[in-house]
């Protein structure tokens, strides 16, 4: 389990008045969602967490190690990044080679590589498509493939940018199961998302951003229990809460329909 510590972080794009400004934030749970509306600073924080761009001020430490000082190898083994748009990174002739390329940046043992690829492809359900050209895959399949390229490396931390976006329902379920499995096996998963239903159902911890600042960190139940910060962050409560409010005028916190049923069927 890793601890990510962000202190006194400032980042501003050239020629823009938007500033990401985080004084103190520590991410120490295995499943953490980062939420916020468009322009809240989610993507900027994502980019900074990749360690590929540096903040103008402050630092990000992972287990007391400055992210900026990691060597490329260390960085690859520490943080795996799954981007929003898979078409920005696929280039190999087959699905299998795509996964192999990532791994061959770190490993040279051919047997080990083969075995790892097999496992990675199996866990995203792409084994059957291993000889296909990545460009012939559908968008959800491409996204699953980019996840497999990271799974093969098996980093400590998985950083997802809008993983649910452009996935169909079976792939969404697959990714959710995968993320939960990763968290259970000692990895840390951080997902940037604006899917509140998914956050409510899947994530025990969340961080909310608004206008470049952290406006909430903690458990989703607390976040959704007061309408003010939710509104301030430009977000909506989980749909089940909207249903309860509109149909029953019930303003309690519910995370999922199951949650609602448990609270009501007992009585």
């Amino acid at each position: 389990m890793s601890i990510i510590q962000i202190s006194d972080l400032r980042y501003q794009y050239p020629a823009s008045d938007f500033q990401l400004s985080i004084n103190q934030l520590s991410i120490a749970d295995s499943l953490v969602a980062i939420v916020g509306q468009n322009g809240a600073g989610k993507s900027t924080l994502f980019k900074l967490l990749t360690g590929l761009i540096q903040p103008q001020k402050g630092e990000i430490n992972i287990n007391q190690q400055n992210l900026a000082r990691l060597t490329p190898e260390e960085r690859l083994r520490t943080i795996g990044i799954i981007f929003q748009d898979p078409s920005s990174q696929l280039f190999n002739a087959t699905v299998e080679k795509e996964v192999a390329w990532s791994l061959s940046q770190l490993e040279s043992d051919a047997e080990l590589i083969q075995a790892t690829i097999k496992k990675a492809l199996a866990s995203v359900g792409l084994t059957k498509l291993k000889d296909q050209n990545p460009f012939d895959l559908s968008l959800p399949e491409k996204k699953l493939l980019t996840i497999a390229t990271v799974l093969a490396i098996n980093p400590q931390i998985y950083l997802f940018d809008e993983p649910m976006m452009s996935l169909d329902w079976p792939s969404q379920r697959l990714v959710t199961v995968l993320i939960q499995h990763l968290a259970q096996t000692g990895h840390q998963v951080i997902a940037i998302t604006h899917d509140m239903d998914w956050v409510a159902a899947t994530f025990p911890k969340m961080v909310a951003l608004a206008a470049g600042n952290v406006v909430f960190e903690g458990v989703p139940t607390n976040f959704f229990s007061c309408p003010e910060p939710v509104k301030k962050a430009g977000l909506l409560p989980p749909r089940i809460m909207t249903i309860a409010q509109e149909v029953f005028n019930d303003h309690q916190v519910y995370l999922t329909p199951q949650d609602y049923a448990e609270k009501h069927l007992v009585h």
């Binding site: 509306q37 468009n38 322009g39 559908s138 968008l139 959800p140 399949e141 976006m165 452009s166 996935l167 169909d168 329902w169 079976p170 792939s171 604006h194 899917d195 509140m196 239903d197 430009g234 977000l235 909506l236 749909r239 089940i240 249903i243 509109e246 149909v247 029953f248 329909p257 199951q258 609602y260 049923a261 009501h264 069927l265």
Partner: protein, 283 residues
């Protein structure tokens, strides 16, 4: 005799050039005009291709083998192109490539279609203003399209499609880059559109059930189910792997069937409200 008051597909199949398997396979369905049709399905279902057929992109611009018939009102995208094209608005999955690239401002980008159709300048001013207000882009009118966020770009793409007052509006996953608030605003706006046949592909099953009159499920190129959201959601086949709206999930868990038809469970807030009232008053 052909019915000119409906959108109808008749044994429609389509295979892309250089491709062996049909992407759409024998689709037959008809819906009255001016309804909202929601299309759902998983990948490789043929959703985007169906949008392209309805917009006339295939086989007019992207070639392939089209058999069967597609008729919308008194026109067919295949036979009556380009007249049909004039009355159709289309929003692509990727809003970035929807834009002309030659406009300095959002206002000019929206005006592009109107200029192409030879609309008078005074009308252009007025229509651009109206559409921008509908899609909450008024503040951005003088900005460069490059400066917009993903969600704003999608709204701009929709604005360019509806500014010509199309009879048919085809939307391929138009909310993928919008945040929750933007998405809710979009579907609220969609409900207010009148005199337009709208075909919308989306993963937002809850919103589709609230707004669509008709739901079609595509699965590997076949139309496996169609009807009202209530009917379609209550008769799902687990093999299709389609999700259900949260209202429906809740009603199933709580066992709140519809009062008038106890075999069916509600899929919209209003249906839920009605059956809960009945259930409560029975207790």
């Amino acid at each position: 005799m052909a019915n000119y008051q409906q959108l109808s597909l008749n044994h429609l199949s389509f295979t892309y050039q250089h491709d062996r398997n049909p992407v759409l396979d024998d689709l037959t369905v008809s819906v009255p005009l001016n309804r909202i049709i929601g299309i759902i399905g998983n990948h490789h279902a043929g959703k985007t291709t169906l949008c392209r057929v309805l917009a006339g992109i295939v086989p007019q611009i992207i070639s392939g083998k089209l058999t069967g018939d597609c008729q919308i009102g008194d026109q067919s995208p295949v036979r009556d192109w380009p007249a049909y094209n004039q009355q159709t608005g289309f929003v692509l999955q990727d809003p970035h490539s929807q834009l002309s690239g030659l406009a300095d401002t959002v206002a000019d980008e929206i005006a592009f279609d109107l200029l192409n159709h030879g609309v008078k300048e005074t009308d252009i001013q007025q229509r651009v203003t109206t559409v921008a207000a509908q899609l909450q882009l008024t503040a951005q009118l003088q900005q460069s399209p490059d400066s917009l966020s993903g969600g704003q770009l999608q709204r701009l793409a929709i604005a360019t499609a509806i500014v010509t007052h199309p009879n048919v509006l085809i939307l391929d996953d138009p909310t993928s880059e919008m945040d929750p608030q933007g998405r809710r605003d979009f579907f609220n706006w969609l409900k207010t559109v009148t005199h337009t046949t709208i075909v919308i592909v989306s993963n937002e099953i809850d919103e589709l059930c609230e707004t669509a009159d008709e739901l079609w499920i595509l699965e590997k190129g076949h139309l496996v189910s169609h009807g009202t959201p209530l009917q379609v959601m209550n008769h799902l086949n687990p093999e299709w792997q389609v999700t259900t709206p949260m209202v429906y999930q809740l009603a199933r868990l709580m066992n709140w069937p519809l009062a008038i038809k106890p075999t069916l469970f509600p899929v919209t807030l209003n249906q839920l409200r009605r059956c809960v009232n009945v259930n409560h008053s029975n207790q």
